[in-house]
């Protein structure tokens, strides 16, 4: 009977296409929008992956990593003296205008690393040596910077080339790989001391302090200890990630706007497939009544409807997620828009699609249970 149930479904081309189309649309919209949303969220915490540290010490008012509130230079030493801290180093982070060969200005994300330890270093150096940053007036830039700081249509800049930051020459000694940041500025790494020269002078220049716990202490324990002793704010990596994402949820319309689209996908899915499937059942009521008269139990008919609904569900889901993955591949090549597809996401969509299908089937099943087999005798 299951085979015949599928034939009955496929026999109604228009409804079948409508059902698959609606469910494809729903799963595409939900998966793709979630992936873009997750991608965007991951961009907000790119700093954490481009400058790695166990503990991030910041001004007490800071809630998220993209927010810089300058600290006193002496704060580095205060953190260093806290029990449980193995070492602590200064970090400068600021968005600064760089001037390129044709005289135009481009904003860059300048990062100044402690010159002795180079803690906060980028994760992957593609060419050059990070240690060369200790030479005067040198920087290491990411691939995006190469693109942005090269002349349009001209030769790509590379190691040995220079550009200006704040009227001072900066020479490229290496290229690194970074995760793209939410604001989209290219990363330019230099030493903390050099950054002090590049950056416009202000009373307070220190952006953050990066610290590591001593052996035997967890990052969280040390962070709490730093907070107690210095009254600065200390985040572990995980805490800073969460706090940053929470901040974006609370303070921007981004989650709401994505949420709306995702819910829209869900509603379209449930309305289109529910409606179409229900009318499929209504149009087949005579046939279903005949089957019921011939002794098909409600449960058998219910299973047939569930099979029909799940079949269009799986097909629509397959196409929708397939399209999302294709979209993802296309996006990974260009890096824009953001896209992050953890395996839980397709699973989540699958659960939602199954839910939609079961709901659609249930509408029909209710009808079947109420259907009196004797209807088949009526004209």
């Amino acid at each position: 009977m299951y085979r015949l149930a599928l034939k009955m479904l496929l026999g109604d081309r228009a409804k079948y296409i409508m059902l698959v189309g609606g469910l494809t649309f729903a799963s595409l919209l939900m998966t793709q929008q979630c992936a873009v949303f997750f991608g965007l969220l991951s961009w907000t915490t790119s700093h954490m992956r481009n400058m790695r540290a166990s503990i991030w010490v910041v001004d007490p008012k800071v809630e998220q990593i993209n927010e810089i509130k300058a600290m006193r230079d002496t704060d580095v030493n205060r953190v260093r003296s806290v029990t449980g801290v193995a070492y602590a180093v200064p970090l400068y982070a600021g968005v600064i205008q760089a001037r390129i060969a044709d005289g135009s200005f481009k904003p860059v994300q300048l990062i100044g690393l402690d010159s002795a330890t180079l803690v906060g270093r980028p994760p992957v150096v593609l060419s050059g040596r990070l240690e060369d940053l200790r030479l005067p007036h040198t920087v290491m830039v990411d691939e995006l910077a190469i693109e942005r700081l090269s002349l349009r249509g001209g030769r790509k800049i590379g190691i040995g080339d220079t550009f200006e930051i704040n009227d001072r020459e900066a020479r490229i000694i290496g290229i690194c790989k970074t995760d793209r940041h939410f604001f989209g500025y290219p990363y330019v790494f230099t030493t903390y001391d050099e950054a002090m020269q590049f950056a416009p002078k202000t009373r307070k220049m220190l952006s953050m302090v990066l610290a590591e716990p001593v052996k035997g202490w967890t990052a969280a324990q040390t962070a709490r200890q730093i907070e107690n002793e210095t009254h600065l704010k200390a985040f572990t990596e995980d805490e800073f990630n969460k706090s940053t994402i929470k901040w974006f949820f609370k303070n921007t319309g981004i989650p709401a706007s994505f949420g709306t689209t995702i819910i829209l996908g869900f509603i379209v899915g449930i309305v289109v497939s529910g409606q179409t499937f229900y009318s499929f059942v209504l149009e087949n009521l005579r046939n279903l009544g005949a089957l019921k008269a011939m002794g098909a139990s409600n449960w058998l008919l219910a299973r047939m409807l569930m099979l029909q609904a799940l079949t269009v569900g799986f097909i629509g889901y397959g196409i929708g997620v397939g399209l999302t993955v294709l979209f993802g591949f296309a996006v990974l090549k260009t890096g824009q828009p953001p896209f992050l597809l953890p395996y839980q996401l397709p699973l989540f969509t699958l659960v939602v699609i199954i839910f939609i299908c079961m709901f659609a089937a249930l509408l029909g099943i209710r009808k079947i249970y109420k259907l009196e087999a004797a209807v088949v005798f009526r004209g």
Partner: protein
Amino acid sequence: MADTNGNKNGFAVHVRNVTKTFGTGEAQVVALKGVDFDARMGELLMIVGPSGCGKTTLLSVIAGTLVFEAGEIDVFDSPLHRLKNREVTEFRKRNVGFIFQQFNLIPTLSILENVSVPLLINGVGRVKAEKKAREVLERMGLAGRENDRPTLLSGGQQQRVAIARALVHDPRLVICDEPTSALDKDTGAKIMELLRDVARHPDRCVIVVTHDNRVFKYADRMTEMEDGRVHKVHENYSQYEQKGNH
């Protein structure tokens, strides 16, 4: 008269004082007002009477497709008035073959698939079911049409497919509601001849509801209904004719 295939009274179908009401209040219609009725093994019993007298309703309660408020119905060994819903479904699945006025074949399935449906519902495997369906279709003169859609067939051919479907699982009771009304005279006559042959079987009872007087002559016995009651039973068609009916 002891009939091993029938119920304890020797009847295939034994209906006593059955009432059935549709709707409530103002819209209430009493379709069956205490019907007594019986049918025997090996006969083609016709239920006749004017439109709206309750023929279809009577057929529906006998077939177990409609619940009734009062009275008793025994079909073979099954007391329908005492069975639970689920048991009635089980009863229909095994014992009843259905033939409808509008054929009610499933248009998206092939003829072979349509005919194999009752076997599939009874849990017979697909290969076996289709083999049996093929045999029955051949007996109905429809060999070679197995893979066609029902809509490609003429009305008479479709009704023969429906008969094949009604017989494929060897039911003891075959129920037909106005099987010839949608057909022309000659085709209707052929269908009735087929049904009479179907009834010539000691293990089977065929009940035909009709108001088509052109086919009355195929009846072994006739039950005349009027306004929700059985009005007269004629032991054969000539008896019916002699009483001034045409």
